[in-house]
Symmetry: C2
Subunit: 314 residues, 2 copies
């Protein structure tokens, strides 16, 4: 469920543009007004504002926001204002330009979006960057990570309800054998994780967890410095329990020395309109304290205001 | 340009269904009538006939055709009647069920369709087979062929006009180095062929051909028993000169001991509504005789009638 709150009376896009333009006018910027408007408009309303703004003021709204805002507040407002598929394309390109094996953004996008949405991300990537997503993955990522990430971002997984239990048992055993042998880069292990439908993989992971007595996510957790192992674990968690995955990333971003604002911003803007309420619940259970408290502790100013507005805790 | 001829007056789908049902009625089947109707309707008209038929007769048209027809004539009528993306999905699944490294069907579909059309094939594959195309490729194909075919069928290549000449020169050299070293299964060679846009690859191949004095297709032709090498050559030819590729496949299917009806049928039904006129010209130039003559020499009966009707030579 979404945590977005949209007012009963939503002003017309032209009225919103006028208010945003007022917020930019004169010395200083009225950040509160920007939060008040943008943090309370859904994707199609924001799209309408973006389409309307240049017709009235001749400028691109994102460019004006970019000019007026700074730092973490700028980043969250810009990312939030984008269409979901465009935003994912921008996030993916951002990590690819300075790719590091510990980045989980590509895995997150590839494993927690629907097949249709992942295809929309690939379309948006064409439009934004004049290249394909998989072209950039193959170009920037080398070795075993390329072998894993290329099929992952190129997948168009089947999404029907069919489960083949014989196959699930067979492939659970393959996964267990390979993981026991520490053969993490094995072709068959990668084939199973990158091509099977999520429902089929759910059955495979369930069988693994029951048959071999340890959860597959636990078997993949033995070494936190092994980024490839973490990648495999993120794939399994992102596919089987996206809510837990997102709560865990938020926990890691907040409960550490120095907040990871990049991850915090990313999870909030990408999940607000999808499943933020479930993520907040999961976060609370996992950490014994509500998400908004951790955000209040760790962030400041308009960035904090924007985060709290988006998760529904103003 | 299409070789399809559609009559000035096209009967309504219901009238076509009535005639088809007459063709099936009583003892024996009126194959001429089937050719007369179906070989002269475009994809959307055939779709309308397929949608209309069960409403009148309660049966699926394809099942009735399957019951009434036999052998090569049956195969060509069934394949022709399908939607283009559904037909490609059926062709791909057909080769995957009994995959052999000399099959070029997957390469043909992956390299000669537009990015959008290849995505439609993947959607149709979901609908027809309750699995994804790449899932079946990864499952049925092993080793170096999996490494090549999986990214190929999963690609969503960028289709804009941009060419990076520096990159083209750099990657032409990589291709040349790898081919000279017979390192055909090299990661970089496969990355370039499977992810770059077709226009970018065109520039890369042009640079290869000019800089290294032998055409890349020639460098990839040294050993016809090496199926992997043939696969690479088919990729290059399918991407850079699809018309030549199709004319070559038709030539191989016809000018040999025992016609390859499978390839002949496939190329005809998949190209009639796209570029069959150009393929016929290329075939004529290459073989010194028109395509219809070779078809008349090599095929018989209603199968021959259907082929000639489709290529516009009744």
């Amino acid at each position: 469920m979404t945590s977005l709150t949209v007012p009963d009376y939503v002003p017309s896009p032209a009225e919103d543009c006028e208010q945003l333009n007022l917020a930019f006018a004169g010395w200083g910027t009225n950040e509160d007004l920007i939060v008040n408007i943008l943090a309370h408009r859904n994707a199609s309303q924001r799209r309408a504002i973006r389409d309307c703004y240049p017709k009235i003021y001749g400028n691109d709204l994102l460019k004006d926001l970019d000019k007026e805002l700074t730092r973490d507040f700028e980043k969250i407002v810009l990312l939030w204002t984008l269409d979901p598929s465009e935003r994912d394309a921008v996030l993916a390109e951002g990590v690819l330009r300075k790719w590091h094996s510990k980045d989980s953004v590509l895995i997150e996008i590839a494993c927690t979006r629907s097949s249709k949405d992942l295809h929309l991300v690939r379309q948006a990537y064409h439009a934004c960057f004049k290249r394909s997503l998989e072209e950039d993955v193959a170009y920037h990522v080398k070795g075993e990570f390329r072998k894993l990430l290329l099929p992952l971002v190129s997948a168009y997984r089947y999404e029907g309800p069919e489960v083949d239990m014989t196959l699930a048992k067979l492939e659970a055993k393959i996964l267990h054998d390979k993981i026991s042998d520490k053969a993490y880069e094995d072709d068959e292990l990668i084939r199973i994780l990158t091509t099977r439908s999520k429902i089929q993989l759910g059955a495979t992971f369930d069988h693994y967890n029951n048959e071999f007595e340890t959860a597959i996510t636990k078997d993949l957790k033995c070494d936190s410095d092994n980024h490839f192992l973490s990648a495999l674990r993120n794939i399994v968690l992102g596919i089987s329990s996206p809510t837990m995955y997102f709560a865990e990333v938020l926990g890691d971003a907040l409960n550490r020395m120095g907040t990871d604002e990049e991850a915090l911003t990313r999870i909030v803007v990408t999940r607000v309109e999808v499943d933020m309420e479930a993520i907040k619940e999961e976060y609370h259970t996992k950490n014994g304290a509500p998400l908004y408290k951790a955000i209040k502790n760790d962030t400041r100013g308009h960035y904090e205001d924007m985060l709290l507005a988006l998760i529904g805790h103003e």
